[in-house]
Symmetry: C2
Subunit: 214 residues, 2 copies
DNA sequence: CGATAGTAGATAGTGACGCTATCTAATTGG
DNA sequence: CCAATTAGATAGCGTCACTATCTACTATCG
């Protein structure tokens, strides 16, 4: 198909497709002559993926580029790919020597120890959690960290669901990686929404109960 | 304190403080003369909150302004305040007539029914979930929605922890609202990180098991 | 009292980001 | 053959979150 049809099929304007081609988010089409290219279903899928990551995942273009590069490896590393979505949001300078960060990491290490987690302490998620812990302390709401253990327990449950979902495609490794990336990055948005609905529901119940009992 | 000291105490540069004053994110100081103002601890706290929402919560300035306006009401509505952080990220035009959206909302309504949730179907969270469902279908990964029930169940657990944490301050309603907002918006980032660590840990286990058994 | 430093408020500028528009030369496809 | 389309290059745009500069005034210290 030509670029106009690719645009129609994906819902992405032609100039934007050209931009993604320039940025390396979309592989070039197959050239029949120096200024004529053909695109296929793979390009349509890739475009839809890019749009989902941009619009729902709020992943910056640079992160998407790295993520897709990982996905295009012969043996892609799922966690490295997913990490590309989180990393751009972290502090530019890790300010490693900061004692606040160090203290938070020490606490986080204890949590990891308690849960028996086997994780890489260089992963962007590890950094992100440490940053959140520092932020909560600075805000004077360190008492919210009392929920950490519970949240971690719930995180394990979520991960179980996540793994269960993608494991159904274990005969197709490429699809497993694809769904893992989608399920995690797009799934964040889903979980965020569900958490708010659950809060809304539960807090209504609690406040009603309070009103009745008072 | 004068603006320079406010800057030192909060870690926010003076021009940025002036910008926040202009944008109404920070209430004006107390004027002793037409061009001299004094700031207090409340300003320091407010600035720290704004920075946390900007840096960790990734909430756009406009959303923070609305959120703070709600927080400054005599009887702030927690969910409306939290919604201010989610809303700016949604589609500008709800394209209400779109059948894809309608179908997703129908599915979501069923989920809400099954869980017995009492929630407002105008809340940004409801819209967001519907958008995610549409996105997953467009990507051809609608099978990931099989996890919806499980995720919703987990969301209930998270909400329980959330409510439990803030309920400890129920004698101080202002603080409850403050912690609820922080705990939800900043907590999203925490949960996102924990989910990734849990995934990393569990997938390592699963793959190792697979390697042994194969 | 005066010199210096600090301040409010107005206005304009900056850099990153994610596109969007325009142009040229070449190529389809009826 | 010729109107429509294309690739690729370059430049422009709108938003966002600041950042810089300037003016007229004020605080404060010696």
């Amino acid at each position: 198909m030509r670029i106009a049809e690719l645009s129609r099929a994906s819902g992405v304007p032609v100039p934007t497709i050209k931009y993604y081609l320039r940025e390396g988010l979309l592989p070039p089409g197959e050239f029949s002559s120096p200024n004529q290219a053909r695109y296929d279903e793979g390009h349509v899928r890739r475009l839809k993926l890019v749009r989902a990551l941009v619009e729902v995942g709020r992943v910056p273009i640079g992160g998407i580029k790295e993520l897709l590069a990982e996905l295009d490896q012969p043996e892609p590393n799922v966690h490295r790919a997913i990490g590309c979505a989180l990393e751009p949001g972290l502090r530019r300078e890790p300010e490693e020597d900061n004692p606040e960060i160090a203290a938070a990491k020490a606490d986080l290490d204890q949590l990891i120890e308690r849960r028996g987690w086997n994780v890489d302490d260089c992963s962007p998620a590890y950094q992100q959690i440490a940053e959140v812990m520092v932020t909560l302390r600075r805000l004077g709401t360190a008492d919210l960290l009392d929920g950490l253990e519970g949240y971690a327990q719930v995180a394990d449950k979520i991960a179980e669901i996540d793994l269960g979902l993608v494991a159904r495609h274990r005969n197709d490794p490429g699809h497993v990686v694809f769904e893992a990336v989608i399920g995690t990055i797009i799934g964040d948005s889903l979980l965020q929404g569900l958490r708010r609905l659950a809060q809304e529901n539960l807090s209504a119940k609690v406040f009603q109960a309070n009103a009745v009992s008072s």
